[in-house]
């Protein structure tokens, strides 16, 4: 991708336009990166030191903020909640949406477009527009206590998983059905001749071929669901059950007196998404542009 792979570009002398372009990009990129960098730098600095010398100083480096943020912020509890919500929600969304996409792209000619429209549009609705009925629905669905301590879908992780699945199925079904439609129909014909049932055709033939799309979607879903703030706020009431993003709200109280602690807390919370960013960048970008580039 870079110019170094192009000998022709290297041979050319650097033109002023190109120099201006790079200057602009470097300055903008530095400005863009700065807020994150600032949080990272301050997260390693001692509060007493910065109080005395101000933030525009150097020195007082320490790791204590991370230890304190982790303990005082009760991060392990919140991270576990995020995990318990995100993993099942992502797996269930991918499974259900690939099922729906399989049927819509191979069998249901008649409902195809209507269903896709219904699915895709649901993904774009403002969550607040569903809040009241969902709240009421969740409190009135009784669950045995071994599933939910609250005795209902309200204030249970399962309820949060379900609403994430319902919301994200639309987008994933749309992306996957586009992908499946592009597969040669001879694949399924061959499986049918071999006597494969519908579910076997889906599970053994189509699904393995969808791996690239599934990887991209999984990356995207992990980020979106981990980053969700609203649903946990609206449909959970116990502080102990909050996922980390929503728990930020409670962390404010303990963190906002000490901005270095706040920085360390922010970096810890950002870490999972930053790992996605650095390791799975290709999948993330692919996922984000999957729906759009088809338009």
């Amino acid at each position: 991708m870079t110019a170094t792979t192009l000998p022709a570009a290297r041979r050319r002398r650097i033109r002023p336009a190109r120099a201006a372009l790079h200057t602009f990009l470097v300055i903008t990129a530095l400005a863009w990166f700065f807020p994150v960098l600032w949080a990272v730098i301050n997260s390693f600095r001692d509060y007493d030191y910065t109080t005395v010398h101000g933030y525009l100083s150097l020195g007082g480096f320490t790791l204590d903020n991370y230890v304190n943020a982790w303990d005082q912020g009760r991060m392990p509890v919140y991270f576990l909640n995020s995990l318990v919500i995100t993993v099942p929600a992502v797996l269930l969304t991918l499974f259900l949406s690939s099922c729906a996409a399989f049927v819509l792209s191979n069998y249901s000619r008649r409902f195809n477009l209507v269903m896709l429209a219904v699915f895709l549009a649901a993904n774009l609705l403002p969550p607040q527009a569903l809040l009241v009925p969902l709240f009421r629905l969740y409190t009135s669905i009784r669950l045995p206590y071994w599933i939910s301590e609250s005795g209902s879908l309200y204030d249970s992780h399962m309820g949060i998983v379900l609403i994430h699945v319902a919301f994200q199925i639309g987008f994933c079904t749309f992306v996957l059905s586009n992908f499946m439609k592009a597969m040669p129909s001879s694949l399924l014909e061959a499986a049918r001749v071999d006597g494969a049932s519908v579910f076997q055709q889906y599970w053994k033939v189509v699904l393995p071929l969808c791996r690239p799309s599934l990887a991209a979607l999984a990356t995207l879903l992990v980020t979106w669901i981990y980053n969700d703030f609203f649903w946990a706020l609206a449909l959970l009431s116990s502080g102990d059950k909050m996922p980390i993003t929503t728990a930020l709200q409670n962390l404010q109280v303990s963190f906002f007196v000490d901005y270095n602690l706040l920085s360390a807390g922010s970096v810890i919370v950002a870490l999972p998404t930053l790992i996605v960013f650095f390791l799975l960048q290709r999948h993330f970008v692919a996922g984000l542009t999957l729906g759009a580039s088809k338009g």
């Binding site: 990129a29 933030y55 049927v103 809040l131 009241v132 519908v198 703030f229 984000l288």
Partner: protein, 321 residues
């Protein structure tokens, strides 16, 4: 338009038959098992989407014409016609600032981040030393939640410990500015943070769109003697029409949905009123005014449905090709 009423029909109908089986069916039982799995594979996801998204959305519309505390039984619901809408427009002080703020939010996103994102995409859509690094930096904020972005920018904006005021204090003795607290400026301060994230997203969308533009179009323009600016305005930009539509819709929807960042800062009050925050505080706040909150939600729903319809019809037309 995918109205909830019509949407309820499809899953109730029997699963459609397989398209013209060419060879005789081997066993009827096998065929029935297949029909059941087809029905389940489409029915379960459809039930979730309808039951947890579309039907609640429809119920919200109905509730917006009622008065209800949300706790009492369904028989305590009182029909009040359009009273909630009238109240919102006349005797609810935060409503007008919320509408105005949402509009400012939208216009701000459209002007700076969208144009900057497009500009960056055009600059980076070529062989460039370090091009990938620039791209990565610009979309780094996209992976962060807006709630966390509110936290991170607090480090810049805080009135006593923030970087911005520490920096300004080097040059002047003016009193410290409370960037997130002062109702005259906090919306713009928040918009800088929100735009910081939006720019990267828009850049990615345009980069994908630009890659899809047929290179022969540019070559033809170059042969005709068009410069880079002319090529972009007369050839490339028109070819980006579908992506432009997507960007418009994404921006409108994101603008309407904006919630996390203002809620984490001050729960959407004092200069940061947004419709989404008003709905939330009316419903989960102490007052619990369900009908009134629903009326506000319907305003959001109505605006977003217009753009959702545009988006869905465009995207599905593209998918059908």
């Amino acid at each position: 338009m995918a109205s909830p009423g019509t949407a309820a029909a499809p899953p109730a109908a029997p699963p459609p038959p397989e398209p013209r089986p060419r060879r005789p069916r081997t066993a009827l039982r096998h065929d029935r098992a297949d029909r059941i799995s087809l029905a389940l594979m489409l029915g379960v996801p459809a039930l979730l989407v309808l039951g947890l998204v579309w039907i609640p959305a429809a119920v919200t519309v109905v509730l917006s014409f009622t008065r209800w505390d949300g706790i009492g039984g369904l028989d305590t619901i009182e029909w009040v016609g359009t009273q909630n809408y009238v109240d919102a427009a006349t005797i609810y002080p935060p409503f007008e600032p919320a509408l105005r703020n949402n509009l400012v939010w939208l216009l701000a996103l459209f002007t700076v981040p969208t144009l900057l994102g497009m500009f960056l995409a055009v600059l980076l859509d070529r062989e460039l030393r370090g091009g990938r690094i620039y791209q990565s930096v610009f979309y780094l904020p996209v992976v962060l939640s807006l709630a966390l972005i509110g936290f991170i920018w607090q480090l810049v904006y805080s009135s006593d410990q923030g970087l911005l005021n520490a920096f300004l204090a080097l040059f002047s003795n003016a009193p410290a500015v409370d960037w997130f607290g002062d109702p005259d400026i906090n919306l713009y301060a928040v918009l800088v943070a929100a735009g910081w994230r939006h720019t990267g997203y828009i850049m990615l969308l345009y980069l994908a769109g630009l890659k899809a533009v047929d290179p022969s179009l540019r070559e033809a323009a170059a042969i005709d003697g068009a410069g880079p600016v002319r090529t972009f305005t007369s050839v490339v930009f028109p070819a980006l029409l579908p992506i432009n539509l997507v960007v418009v819709v994404v921006t409108v929807i994101d603008g309407l949905r904006a919630f996390d960042i203002v809620w984490i800062i001050n729960r959407g009050r004092n200069g940061l009123e947004l419709i989404s925050a008003l709905v939330t505080s009316n419903v989960i706040g102490e007052a619990s005014r369900v009908g009134f909150g629903s009326a506000l939600a319907v305003v959001m729903l109505a605006i977003s449905l217009v753009f959702i319809t545009i988006y869905v019809s465009t995207v599905l037309r593209g998918a059908q090709r």
